[in-house]
Subunit: 351 residues, 2 copies
């Protein structure tokens, strides 16, 4: 797709801020544990095995499209996946989240990281992209994705999830050369990885920087994170494919997220769409932001909250409906199906 042609699929139109017949909807982590079809596959394969086998990754990616009719598919993968060919020794311990056995703490650790050619060493991901695109047959667009440099750095430095990101922040401040080399390497990896996904067929990409807004205020973000994320968006922009930029808790510096890049800014569930747009100013679309907990509420309450998000966003085009963070593992599937229908029904263009 050239950047000058007007797309027809609602999701791709909304990314560009174009008028749509109804608001497109997809959910972060929409392929996953809340679906019985996914749990059935996970009984036989680990997370990394599913990611490594394109047929399995394809099947899991398609499950929520078939079940609920989302307006975009997102490739099933883990944000830590591209770290493995770099030499990161990653394990998903049962019930404990990711563990990295060789965390990066020094310049020597960074220098040991291997350069990655995603077309080769992540060929299974690109094959999954091609298989999903073929299966979707042009009816539903496919989103590729990657973790942003800060969020990835926090895992490789801390050795897993973190509460206060202290080791990450200390490297950022106390070892500026190490930080720069690590962030630069991650920015290059992520750019190459996303571009490889686009070449394989991804029609949009999302950069997940959940932990930047959780950990950092605007001054640190601007100085130590923004320049690296910006490199990625600058390279994506050349492809003509729309990019979504998502963080959590970055509400005091949404303009900096916009400055880093992205055609669409994802807003968390505590950031009203109209409030967020006022912070962001013009020239960017928004995505979000139903509280993931709302999918557990009674149907009438769910409807009220979905309509409230649509109403907040209704003043102008350029809104993609989503959750304000990833879907929760125990979410009732009937409410997911209802949510997709409600968003479509209550956002119909009346003109």
């Amino acid at each position: 797709m050239s950047g000058n042609d007007e797309p027809t699929l609602p999701f791709l139109r909304a990314c560009r801020g174009l008028l749509v017949d109804y608001t497109p909807i997809w959910f972060m982590r929409q392929a996953g544990r809340y679906m019985a079809e996914y749990r059935a596959i996970r009984q036989k394969y680990t997370l990394l095995q599913i990611c490594a086998q394109p047929e399995l990754a394809t099947e899991v990616t398609l499950q929520p499209i078939r079940a609920f009719g989302f307006d975009a598919a997102i490739l099933f993968a883990d944000i830590l996946l591209p770290l493995i060919p770099m030499g990161i020794d990653l394990e998903f311990a049962a019930g404990e989240g990711p563990v990295i056995h060789n965390p990066v703490r020094s310049l020597a650790d960074v220098d040991r990281l291997r350069p990655v050619e995603p077309r080769d060493s992540l060929a299974h991901v690109m094959e999954a992209v091609r298989l999903v695109r073929r299966a979707l047959d042009g009816k539903t667009p496919l989103i590729g994705f990657a973790g942003a440099p800060f969020t990835l750095a926090s895992y490789v430095i801390e050795g897993g999830p973190s509460k206060n990101y202290l080791k990450t922040k200390r490297m950022m401040v106390e070892q500026p050369d190490t930080w720069d080399r690590l962030m630069a390497a991650l920015a290059e990896l992520v750019s190459d990885y996303l571009i490889a996904q686009i070449e394989a067929g991804a029609q949009a990409v999302q950069l997940f920087d959940s932990w930047a807004g959780t950990a950092l205020g605007p001054v640190d973000y601007r100085e130590h994170v923004l320049p690296y994320s910006k490199r990625i968006f600058e390279r994506i922009r050349l492809t003509g494919v729309p990019a979504i930029h998502f963080s959590v808790g970055a509400s005091t510096y949404l303009p900096l997220l916009k400055e880093a890049g992205g055609d669409v800014i994802g807003l968390d569930w505590r950031t009203p769409i109209d409030w967020g747009r006022a912070q962001l100013g013009d020239g960017v679309a928004v995505q979000g932001n139903l509280d993931p907990a709302a999918l557990f509420y009674p149907r009438q309450e769910l409807k009220k909250r979905i309509c409230a998000v649509l109403e907040q966003a209704s003043s102008q085009p350029g809104h993609i409906f989503n959750l304000g963070h990833g879907i929760l593992p125990e979410t009732p599937v009937d409410n997911v199906r209802a949510a997709v229908e409600m968003v479509h029904e209550h956002s119909q263009r009346r003109s």
Copy 2:
């Protein structure tokens, strides 16, 4: 102290938005694990034992005042303490945080909670307040504190700390009568508890609602939380003692925190003081908000960040220096001492 007399201590003056000779500083969780003196006491006593023995609570409260010269003491206690006489079966499991063995999930559970007269059943806390006041001898003011209804409710409903507050939110939405009765009971408990602390000698109080901003957006906060916190601040206001209102992650609805109440609004580390003041408008002081991680950085960097906070706050009086969240357990004490000196030195009134 009557509300009409001008206080002389810098902390109390800053609470009122009055001019000060230097910016007063204290740290959330300033009495605690980062101090060797505290760890020595914890080797012999559990957290709850320290809280139950006024002499021990007094000693621990005074340790950071003696060591670092903070401009305010804050009573050593745990926000969950007043739940115990209500009938909440609370345990601090080693290294795991609080566990509540009889979580509140139904109207019947709420009705089983006992009314609490803090002057009687929390007499040990009031005795500690009196002992601390006597020891401080008018030179350093004492802050009393309590957890806010939402934050306390989240513990009693979830049974401990939570990642997504799903049970709490579901009760809030699906069992409005249960929620109302629980929140009303907690608001009454917290009001009575804070007023008893004030009667015993607390010269200011802080309401901690850390998890409200973490969990909820503005619509839920306004409807399900604000009315209960407001009841507390209305009762505190009658005492003439200043109140501080602190949450984390509530940056999209700081005006609602102000509406709920408090002479001072505490800002988290991601919310620049000037940005926060612009959101809040006039008529309220602010507290904050150095990133707790900054206390681990090299001295020069620490100084830079302290001066940045002071600079952001310098346009008008009514600023209390603090961290943007509680001090971290491994914080080097030398940097704490240096921070107090830096804040005093770099905020001297030049007129």
